[in-house]
Point group: C2
């Protein structure tokens, strides 16, 4: 037992802990978000975020882990401008099905209330959502929606944050080598926010859809 420990009035175990904390070896920062990310790990370990859009649906699957969540898959389901709308929708559903079969997430999160420029845009965005939700529902997942403002608040700390700020924070939180493409970053941000929201007491419970 080191003389220093007895002199400080603490146990040898406490002394070792203190020593390791100041020694600087493998020090892992534990941010507030990361702590909550793992607290409910038993409920949903693998979370899918989807940011549906006709020609570029972003998706991201994270697995809760220490010291930080892992990205299992992320990307954008692209459809060329020349494709008919129904073909794009089929592409969304089929591509998501492939990803889901491979990684088997247990919960899916999409953007809630959003802003469309006009009715036609809202209709087309709705179609992309419909195709995505069918694929997710087929896989038997629970599906939730979270408002975009809430996602930005959770990830960047500011509800009106720019898209690029979201992508930057997602990259940092998930320790990605490269910044994810905007649509994939939004999807990953949804998954991260879900993890955060379910890991703490919330006045506005998540909406199942």
């Amino acid at each position: 037992m080191p003389a220093l420990a007895s002199g400080m009035g603490i146990t040898p175990q406490q002394f070792e802990q203190l020593q390791s904390r100041v020694s600087g070896t493998r020090r892992v920062s534990t941010k507030a978000l990361e702590t909550t990310l793992v607290s409910k790990a038993s409920v949903h370990q693998t979370i899918l975020g989807i940011d549906p859009s006709l020609r570029g649906t972003g998706y991201g699957i994270i697995r809760l882990a220490r010291p930080h969540p892992e990205v299992l898959a992320q990307g954008t389901i692209k459809s060329p401008a020349a494709w008919e709308r129904s073909r794009c929708l089929l592409n969304i559903a089929q591509s998501l099905r492939e990803v889901l079969k491979h990684h088997q997430p247990t919960v899916c999160v999409v953007e809630g209330l959003f802003f469309a420029q006009n009715l036609q845009t809202a209709l087309i965005m709705g179609e992309a959502r419909g195709a995505s939700l069918v694929a997710a529902a087929e896989a038997g997942m629970e599906i939730f929606e979270i408002a975009p403002r809430k996602v930005k608040q959770a990830v960047v700390g500011y509800g009106a944050a720019q898209k690029s700020a979201v992508a930057k924070m997602v990259q940092r939180m998930l320790r990605l080598a490269e910044q994810p493409a905007p649509d994939a970053a939004d999807a990953l941000a949804l998954a991260l926010t879900f993890a955060q929201e379910t890991g703490r007491f919330s006045l506005t419970p998540l909406k199942r859809i």
Copy 2:
């Protein structure tokens, strides 16, 4: 050769035709729409119309035949108000899949430009369309859209016709024992309009989606 025929200055064949036309046996009315319905029968014999909506998606499948098109299937895919949205969407896709597998239509028609009260309504209608279109595209069908106004014009002869007038005309044109439910009637009207539109020269070609 009947004396009457020579007295009228017509050939015996023409006389027989005239005689059969006034004799009243098996007289089949040939309305303008019916004529066009069968004229392109070789292209698409079995036509699916869909009127997508979250809790009550109407569908109707007609087969072109003489003396009038036959209804192979028609109905409304209902989802209880208590169901979550994603469950309704899955119900739409799965129910349509069953119907398509059974009747194998080769072409699908949905409503084109439509009017929603607000963005939220448009989004939800879009989701129902997306779920329907995924099911139709999976089955490898060509998919077209027709504006509601054009459907009313074709079926009732008046672009701003009431829903009940559409249902009545659909019942008459398809010789149905009962008037179809409103959503199913709209779907059948779409299929009938497609048959009419493809059977004639049109200044505004149908839009593939």
